[in-house]
């Protein structure tokens, strides 16, 4: 019912606008074409100037409104670089934006039709054209320079001490793999994937290196202040590991592993304090269209202290143990705990 009402109101509005428009056309014929033209021209000239002024106020207001809702402090070293680059770019483009928009609308207002004015015949001026080829070129060189400097820092090789974690996208979720004590990922083959056997990644059990690999869907754990390198995979279609707080992003492509690395600056607990939000979590968003569940493909990053990391890792059951419950004897819990405590104390 309300929909019909809205449609009826819309239609009525249309008819009213149309009738006014038609009437104004008759009026313009009566008034004379020249007079109508001059009147319209003045109105539109004024509106163009008004648009500029109101628009610039709107730009300022919009910024005030949203600046608190975007770009909290970057939570990684690379994120800081990206933010710096962002501010440099905003400064340069902001100046250009203001100058050109103001010139555009002010010229439009100032040089609107007047019977007294004749247009200035000015077909070209080589000097001017050289100026506005060279100046933008210099500004862009600055931007390219900074951009590539940061780009190579961010995409350069990960430090040797970096923790390596594998993250694999699937429709619609994330699988994380840790290499275990040997720090080597076991071989895997996608045809060996068998979810019934709890082998989500198709680990090859004849490769011993796979036996201590830990595979989980729970969260991506990383140590604060320690570089982490992600090896990114996909099991089906193209996904993308989007880490908004770290300002990082990399596609997950089936058949072609990709990598990224960064150093998280704050633990999840610290971020809870910083943001004043007790439920804060670092979220992993899928940033590449991957099917109907794309919008809900969420993962969690837990940034923890080194001690917490070791403790957490030690509590995890290896994928091999989960897939082969009959072979692996349950390890005495006490022993595991004592090793962990020892490790933490070291």
């Amino acid at each position: 019912m309300s929909t019909l009402l809205i449609i009826a109101i819309l239609l009525l509005g249309f008819i009213v606008v149309f009738q006014i428009a038609k009437a104004s056309e008759y009026v313009s014929v009566l008034k004379g074409e020249k007079k109508t033209f001059e009147q319209n021209n003045r109105i539109n000239g004024f509106l163009l100037l008004a648009f500029l002024i109101v628009g610039l106020i709107g730009v300022y207001w919009c910024n005030e409104l949203f600046k608190g809702k975007i770009l909290g402090e970057a939570a990684s070293d690379h994120g800081e670089k990206i933010d710096t680059m962002l501010y440099i770019t905003i400064a340069i483009t902001g100046i250009v934006f203001l100058v050109t928009q103001i010139l555009l609308f002010v010229f439009a207002f100032k040089y609107q039709y007047s019977e007294k004015r004749t247009a200035f015949y000015y077909p070209h001026n080589n000097k001017l054209e050289v100026i506005w080829t060279v100046v933008p070129a210099i500004a862009l060189t600055v931007l390219v320079g900074f951009g590539l400097y940061y780009w190579f820092k961010i995409t350069g090789d990960a430090p040797k001490e970096a923790n390596v974690v594998e993250i694999t996208g699937k429709q619609f979720g994330w699988i994380y793999r840790y290499p275990g004590k040997d720090k080597v990922f076991g071989k895997k083959y996608y045809k060996d994937i068998d979810e019934g056997q709890l082998n989500q990644l198709g680990l090859k059990w004849d490769d011993k290196a796979s036996h201590d690999d830990i595979v989980t869907n729970e969260a991506l754990y990383m140590v604060v202040g320690k570089p982490v390198k992600l090896v990114i995979n996909s099991r089906d279609v193209v996904h993308d590991v989007g880490l908004v707080h770290f300002r990082m992003k990399m596609d997950a492509v089936p058949g072609t592993p990709t990598t990224m690395w960064f150093t998280p600056k704050y633990t999840t607990a610290e971020m809870k304090e910083k943001t004043g939000n007790p439920d804060f979590e670092y979220e992993i968003s899928c940033d590449q269209m991957c099917g109907k569940g794309h919008f809900s493909m969420k993962g969690i990053v837990k940034v923890v202290s080194n001690a917490e990391y070791i403790l957490w890792l030690a509590k995890q059951k290896t994928n091999y143990a989960m897939s082969h419950p009959e072979e692996v004897k349950p390890a005495p819990a006490a022993t595991a705990d004592s090793t962990v405590t020892a490790a933490v104390n070291n």
């Binding site: 770009l71 077909p123 089936p254």
Partner: protein
């Protein structure tokens, strides 16, 4: 030619036909309804066919965006009427995820290809090239007709895909495999995707037939005296557009063919190491590269941006100059910058792929080349600004839309410097920032160029004017609305809000924009309704608009205004006029304008 003759209608014009012997021209008194309005070979009629088909597509594509904006603005609310109309796609009055993705996919495909490529350059290349270079028709009117009808068939196939049971393609307008290659990965990748690919293949054929025609017409059929450097900038822009299309569409075509093979012939061009959760099966394909498709797609995809934008730039240059009563500033620089854009357009495609695992060293070249495009773009902007400087501006609706174009082009162009910089792209890639960027610079700006063109050349197309008051309402609401919709999206993008999400309620990082999303949705509905007002104005004015009574209503120097008010097939009665000067002698030696057909006087000043 006397003014009086030009006032005569179409039928009287035929009496003068015998004096010259132009083949197409001679035919036109035998025209039937079918040959005149349906299988027409008159470039002007084909242009109108493209335009009207484009308008219908624009309404459909716009409507899609209204639907998905409803979902984004009101994710918790249900609209029972949607279920009545859409059935299972809106079960319970809520737009279902599959359908949401189908909507965004179709919105993109339709607007990028069917409206802003076919509807824009199809219309104005067909209409303006022969009229502005002084030709009676295209080099091959028959191919030109085929070009429209291939577009029409492509349209029909695309429309039909909306009605298949599994729904239309829903993998985004870029249709990246493996998602688009595997029916088991997504409903939309079943029959809908096949229809999408077939439709796009037909579209490429249409675009090539048209493009080859435009280029050969411009190169071979210019009238006497019309050297390349005397052509209006519209023709130059359309020329570069056609060249871009001819060189890049075949690459897209090849990409689509490979995708079809992967879908149906068991090949592995794009597929490797895939295990589908929906079937719990591993696919046999190994060794393909999903990234290969992205290279092939963006090799067209990036030039496509300029295929959309260049015609608008050309028309805006022409309209700004005409209504500023002042020559375009830096004519040669305008051509040079378009040429530079055209060349660079082929060298930047991988900036869409900075985060695909592309070699960072390779990426750095694409950063450099991408940001280089800002230089010719800056030249164009400053030249437009200088064109209106010290002019005597008439704010016709076409002029307003041209000014709006420049404003949009600046705003959207500058954000290109953000996303073209790989460092920033890491954060901004596939967020609302990208949405804001390309909608402003490519979507809205090109639409403004198209509206400017329609308002400016409507009198030439139909011999009538569009209603001015409706035009002004249309302009102001669209300009303000477009900024209200897309400006705040930059902030969403900076916050990292990903595109193609239909509901943010599950996300702590992205759910802070509920109010804004609702605001944007309301504005976009208002703006969409305003476009319907334009459509109404368009069709009403074809039949009932104020009649054009003078041959050259805008006081323009270009050749199309030397034709009769309602030109027949063949455009000029009698001889094709000879050209003696460039297209922009406005305000020279104290004269309002000097038509291109006027010989250069002995005392005329030089520039």
């Amino acid at each position: 030619m006397s003014n009086e003759a030009t006032l005569h209608g179409h039928s009287e014009v035929t009496t003068t036909h015998d004096v010259h012997h132009d083949e197409h021209h001679g035919h036109h008194h035998k025209e039937t309804f079918i040959t005149k309005y349906v299988f027409s070979q008159d470039h002007k009629m084909i242009a109108k066919q493209f335009l009207i088909t484009g308008i219908i597509w624009a309404i459909i594509g716009g409507l899609f965006s209204v639907l998905f904006r409803l979902q984004l603005g009101y994710p918790d609310q249900s609209f029972p009427i949607l279920e009545d109309i859409l059935g299972k796609w809106a079960a319970g009055g809520k737009i279902q995820p599959e359908f949401y993705y189908a909507l965004v996919t179709m919105h993109g495909t339709v607007l990028v290809f069917f409206v802003l490529t076919a509807g824009l350059s199809g219309t104005f290349a067909n209409f303006l090239i022969p009229l502005q270079v002084g030709a009676r028709d295209m080099a091959s009117p028959f191919m030109n007709m085929l070009s429209y009808w291939f577009f029409f068939i492509a349209s029909m196939v695309m429309i039909s895909s909306l009605f298949v049971q599994t729904g239309p393609a829903s993998g985004g307008w870029t249709s990246y495999p493996p998602l688009s290659a595997l029916g088991d990965a997504s409903e939309g990748s079943k029959v809908g995707m096949d229809l999408w690919l077939v439709s796009m293949a037909l579209f490429v054929v249409s675009s090539l037939l048209g493009g080859l025609n435009y280029v050969s017409t411009i190169l071979n059929m210019r009238t006497k005296g019309m050297s390349m450097t005397r052509m209006p900038l519209t023709v130059w822009a359309l020329f570069f557009t056609a060249v871009l299309g001819i060189l890049s569409f075949p690459v897209l075509f090849s990409g689509f063919i490979l995708l079809l093979f992967d879908r149906h012939a068991g090949t592995s061009f794009y597929l490797s190491d895939i295990f589908l959760a929906s079937t719990q099966k591993a696919l046999p394909n190994e060794g393909g590269s999903a990234i290969l498709y992205q290279h092939l797609f963006w090799f067209l995809g990036h030039p496509e941006v300029y295929i959309i934008l260049l015609p608008a730039m050309g028309m805006v240059s022409e309209i700004l100059s005409t209504n500023a009563r002042k020559p375009i500033f830096g004519y040669m620089a305008m051509i040079a910058s378009m040429f530079a854009i055209c060349v660079l357009a082929f060298l930047v495609w991988a900036h869409h792929m900075f985060v695909t695992g592309l070699n960072p060293f390779l990426g750095s070249f694409f950063v450099l080349l991408t940001l280089l495009i800002a230089v010719p773009s800056a030249i164009k902007v400053f030249n437009w600004l200088t064109t209106i400087w010290r002019g005597n501006l008439r704010f016709t609706p076409a002029m307003l839309f041209s000014l709006g174009f420049v404003s949009m082009f600046i705003s959207g162009g500058l954000t290109g410097i953000f996303v073209g910089n790989s460092t920033l792209d890491i954060h901004l890639h596939d967020t609302y920032f990208v949405i804001a960027h390309f909608h402003i610079v490519m979507g809205v700006a090109s639409f403004f160029g198209m509206f400017a063109g329609v308002y400016h050349w409507f009198p030439k197309m139909y011999g009538r004017y569009l209603n001015n008051t409706l035009a002004y309402i249309h302009f102001w609401i669209t300009l303000v609305g477009a900024y209200l919709i897309f400006w705040p999206m930059h902030y969403q993008g900076l916050a990292g809000v990903p595109r193609r999400y239909l509901d943010f309620s599950g996300w702590a990082s992205f759910n802070q924009f509920d109010g804004l999303n609702r605001f944007i949705s309301i504005v976009s509905i208002i703006v969409f309704a305003t476009q319907l007002l334009f459509v109404f104005n368009f069709f009403y004015s074809i039949f009932k608009g104020r009649r054009v009574t003078t041959q050259n209503p805008w006081g323009s120097a270009t050749l199309e205004w030397t034709t009769p008010i309602r030109p027949g097939h063949g455009n000029w009665d009698g001889e094709i006029p000879e050209v003696h000067r460039w297209a922009y002698d406005y305000g020279k030696d104290g004269r309002e304008f000097i038509s291109q057909t006027e010989p250069v006087g002995a005392n005329e000043s030089k520039h």
